[in-house]
Structure formats: C-alpha cells, structure tokens
C-alpha cells in the first residue's frame, strides 16, 4: 500500500524528487529551524534553554544568509553573534543563574497581552512584506558574485562592485570607510564602558583571585556568597567561587 501522510497519499504531499527545488528545500529547512527556535525562545521558561534555542536559531539564520549568497555576513553572524555575543550572553546567564532566577514565571495576563500585541505586529509586518509584488516574484537564481572581497574593499572605502556602472567621469562610489571608523570608535567606547560598568566597586571584599587562591571552600562559602552578591561575583565564579545556587541570600 502506498505510504500515507495525514490521510493522503504521500505523493500528494511530497512532490517527486525531480520537482524539488533544493535551494528552496534548504531554505525551508533553515527557515523552519530559525523560526521554530525563535518561537521556542519565547515560550521557554528556563534561561539557559532560551540561550541554547537562541543559538540554534541564529545559527540557522547564518545558514539562511549563506543560502542568500552572503557568505561573509553568514560567517560574521556565526563568528560574532553566535561565537561572541551569545557566549557572552550565556556567560551572563551563568553568572546570574541563581536558582530563583533561572526561570521567573510571567503572569498569564502578560503572556496573553504579549501574544495579542505580537500577533498584531506580525500581521502588520506580513502585510507589509507581502504587499509588494516585486518582492514576491520568484528568484532569478542568478549566481551572486562572491561578496567578501568587494565588501572588504568597500569597508576600507573603495567600491569595487559596479564601480563604473555610472558614467566613467564619475569617481568611485565612496565606500563605508566613515561608518567603519565610527563603528570602530563606538566599539572601543563600548569596550571601555562595559569594563567600567562591570568593574568591581567594593574593594573591601577580598579580590576574587585571592579568594580562589585561598583553598578552604567550606569556610569561604559565606564570603563567596557575599562576593557573589557583590560586584566581584563575576570573578568569584570564574575563579572557583560558590556553588551554582549561591550562598544563603
């Protein structure tokens, strides 16, 4: 007997292999992963799970980017987002992952409200997205030129993609040198600012490293707990501080 799916013959559901557009297939795969885990992030209650889902979702997005022919952005996504930002995030999660906060319940009302509003927003966005026929036109499928080098050139101020698309007397379209510089300065400022915000303020508590050096865990749990509350908490956990579920609070 023919295999059935949802009461229908499989052939009705799954078109023959030859008809399958593999690009679309992979797109569908990645898209579903991305969206699915994005929703999972919303629904999950455990922070760490959320982080994991987010990672998967973003990684899938990277896949989407690769499919769209933007390898550089994809790799960027993987490296910075997944490899950097999210590690940072998880890091923070672990630092603050005391039992009471691992999962903070949200009132049902909030959920419902959020659901309604979210639905409205989604509707609006979909309407907007699907309203333009040009966007709905199926892909031309023409191969994208590798974008890494042109993008790099553009970042240092030279547009090598379609440089002379416009009249020759026109010089090269200016690249993104200025934004690039601004971003780098911005990053520097952010670095300093973050270091400043997260710095340890209360110096009278023993510095985390020293605590780590002093090896009598039971005796130092209490003060570790203090540190855990205190700004040096980060260091303390790093260096072997209190248990996951901190000291008595």
């Amino acid at each position: 007997m023919t295999p059935t799916l949802a009461g229908l013959p499989l052939t009705a559901v799954v078109p023959p292999l030859a008809a399958i557009n593999w690009h679309s297939f992979f797109f569908l795969l990645f898209a579903s992963i991305a969206c699915g885990f994005a929703v999972a992030v919303v629904t999950a209650t455990n922070v760490v799970r959320m982080a994991l889902y987010l990672v998967l979702s973003l990684a899938a997005t990277a896949g989407l980017f690769l499919l769209a022919g933007a390898e550089f952005v994809g790799a960027m996504q993987l490296m910075i987002y997944v490899g950097g930002t999210l590690v940072l995030l998880v890091f923070g999660v672990m630092l603050t992952a005391q039992a009471p906060f691992v999962s903070i319940a949200t009132s049902g009302g909030d959920r419902v409200l959020a659901g309604v509003v979210g639905a409205a927003l989604l509707g609006a966005l979909l309407m907007a997205g699907l309203s333009v026929p040009a966007w709905r036109a199926p892909a031309s499928g023409k191969l994208a030129e590798p974008a890494a080098t042109p993008l790099g050139m553009a970042l240092v101020g030279v547009r090598v993609d379609e440089p002379a698309a416009n009249a020759p007397e026109k010089a090269v379209r200016p690249g993104y040198l200025l934004p690039f510089e601004i971003i780098s300065i911005h990053l520097l400022v952010v670095l300093v600012g973050a270091a400043y915000l997260a710095r340890a303020k209360r110096r009278k508590t023993p510095r985390a490293i020293d605590v780590a050096a002093s090896v009598e865990p039971p005796a130092s749990v209490a003060e570790h707990a203090a540190i855990g509350r205190g700004p040096a908490g980060a260091g303390s956990v790093l260096a072997g501080g209190p248990a996951l579920t901190g000291g008595p609070r």
Partner: protein
Amino acid sequence: MIGSLAIPPLFGLLITEPVSVAHYLVVGAIMFTAGVACMATKRNALGVLMGIELVLNGANVNFVAFASPYLAGEGARSLGLDGQAIAVFVIVLAAAEAAVALAITLNFYNNHATVDVDRADDLKG
C-alpha cells in the same frame, strides 16, 4: 483534518517553487515578532536581551534578503553590497550592545541581587 488538508499543497508549493525575497521577509517578520514578544514577556533581564538580539536578527534577515541579487526577481534591482554592509554593521553593533547590556545587567544584579526587570523600577514616577 482541515489543517492536514491545507498543509500539503502549501508545503509542496514551498518546496517546489524557487524562494523569493518575500520568503525571507516572512522569516524576518516571525523572528522580529518573536523578539518583541520575548522582550515583552521575559522578566529575566537576559531574556529581554535575547529578545533584542532576535529583533536585530530579524531586521538583518530583511537586509540580507534585499541585498541578495540571487533572490531578487528577474530584472528587479537588489540592494547590492549596501544591504550586506548594513547587516554587518548591525551585527557589530549588536555585539557592542550586548556587551553593554550585559554589563548593565551584572551591575543591576550586583546592586539588587536580582535580574528581574520588574524590580528595576527605581525610576518610576
């Protein structure tokens, strides 16, 4: 049953037809909405942070979609490099923003011994 009747053709359609920009837009929209919902429902500051990341990512998906000459329909002009560059910038800024937000969260945690944003209402009027 109704759903099961409705699903297959749509699925078949998706899998056989070449993707278009709109597909990406839908994905972006879903991620964006999910992010917003995340921000709206999570009480854990880091949850909110993740929501923000989702939102940014959704936006990025759109940019990349518009940028890709591969997805653009016949003759339709794509955003070209600009889209990708903007996406890159967004990613970088997202990283920066995450760093600062995390620092703020830690600070908040150090001072209030909690990461519940609902308890961060010291500035309420």
